[in-house]
Amino acid sequence: GSSDSGPRLELSAALPDAAADGTVLRVGDPATQVALETSGLVDDLDIDVEWANITGGPKTLEAFRADAIDIGSVADIPPLFAHWTGTDVRIVAARETVDPAEHPTYELGVAPGVDVARIEDLKGKKIAYSPGQAQGALVLNVLREAGLTQDDVELVEMQSVDDAFSVALASNQVDVAPLGQSLVKTYLAKYEQDGATTIPPGVRDDAWTLYAPTSVLEDADKAAAIKEYVGLWAQAQQWISENPDEFAQAYYVDHEGLSPEDATYVVDALGEFTVPTDWDDFITRHQQTVDTLVKEQDQEPLDVETLYDRRFEKAIAAAVEGS
């Protein structure tokens, strides 16, 4: 718990090098956990980590608010909504895909019999739209990229729970819906014979972050622990990129219960990760997304730079270059 909190640390102060003995970092990042454990990197961790099997924006935010974890692993949208709904958070690590155009996180699923080959063809189509989820932001980004507005298409509001999107596509309830890579495989396997296709989204959707509540970062011990963790996290991402088969087996097969083929497909589809040591481009792209959301969803304008704790940028750079 947070009761045994360490000394207070200003957000502008330099990060301490080492955490006090007995500092426990509670991490909701099962993929990294698996990577660290499989690669053996976990032995390099000097801090005590308590792993929680928690993923996804809403769940990590819930856990933050309940003070159940210290750091979470999500795409670039959840930190924005955390901020907009009054939970003070900072992004402490960033990751992107080496070849984002070839390895998008999401593809746009196209329903059987619907003629969409490029994102410009979306005009006039029914698109599944889940505001509040990463998929929703993606749709808005895609429309911007295609030079379309919400008025040029028909947005069908629905949540991307389970395989709702692929079912909606298959039964022609919507024409286009964003599908995560793991669902793309099953969607095509099932409905390609009927004429179902997918197209790449044409925008980058590869941003991935670690983020933590500000209150955690104000705890000197926790901050030091996070500094230690993000360094190892960066190495773990590198390990994943270099050992896709091992990771596929350990995480997607053993931990998530996919079949080996599906696991390989997903890992291949997601491609190699890279951990930038300079966040400027990353932040610029993030700001673009923010502006889109501000425009399309009436959110409060935000300078996204303020959400980044760039002290960790250096820590990560040091760790990556040092390894």
């Binding site: 909504f81 509040g132 509001e157 629905m158 729970v161 389970d162 709702a164």
Partner: protein, 278 residues
Amino acid sequence: MATLATPARPVAATEDVRPVRRRLGPGAPIRFGGLIGIAALLGAWVVGSATGLLDPRNLTEPWTVVATAGTLVENGRLQESLVTSGVRAALGLGLGVAVGTVLAVVSGLSRIGESLIDGPIQVKRSIPTLALIPLLILWLGIGEPMKVITIALAVFVPIYIHTHNGLRSIEGRYAELAETLGVSRAEFVRHVVLPGAMPGFLLGLRFAVTSSLLALVVVEVINATSGIGHMITLASNYGQTDIIVVGLVVYALLGVTADAAVRLIERKALSWRRTLAS
């Protein structure tokens, strides 16, 4: 032996001395007693929030909730959601209650009906509604019919189980009586089965009403642009605790009101009973 040694004295006109016997039943109902607990709950919330015992990030303060509700009413979202959800819930409830009752009577009065109907319903109720959504989308699309039917599916289960159970609990001697009176099967259903199963049915209705409300959260995830469930889901994606809590308060209000209404019907419709409650 206790005897009375006092001489008889004249009794004042309306003097009322009755033997005192410890009451074992619950006694006379307290008027609006049901509200006491709810008021206490509200009080705890207000006090907890005011004293800072409840962190507003976790549980929004009552006044913030009121303010948020005010905003939602001003921009019309709350009313719109209520109307949309209300129509959906009412349609689903009506359909579910009708289907559930008919199935319960068929299955309650015929062993063959029971062996065909009862098993599948037990299967249905063991399966999370959420998991049925993909199939329902495939079969019914993502429009209103799918939503209404999904609600009906959530509703008919408690109606069926309770009515069936109520019916099966009718005392056998009343069926005997009906047999000797030579009533037709329809008369039997109308005069013996339905009134006899009424207590069960009404209990089922209490669950059905809540089920219909809860099902909104599930169905309004799909192709909905308004509705209480939609509002809550959206807010929880965004992490807008205050809106979620407004939604929950609305739920609580609807739930408690509906439950009180059913219990009122219960009191009227079952006035023939002489139970611990009366």
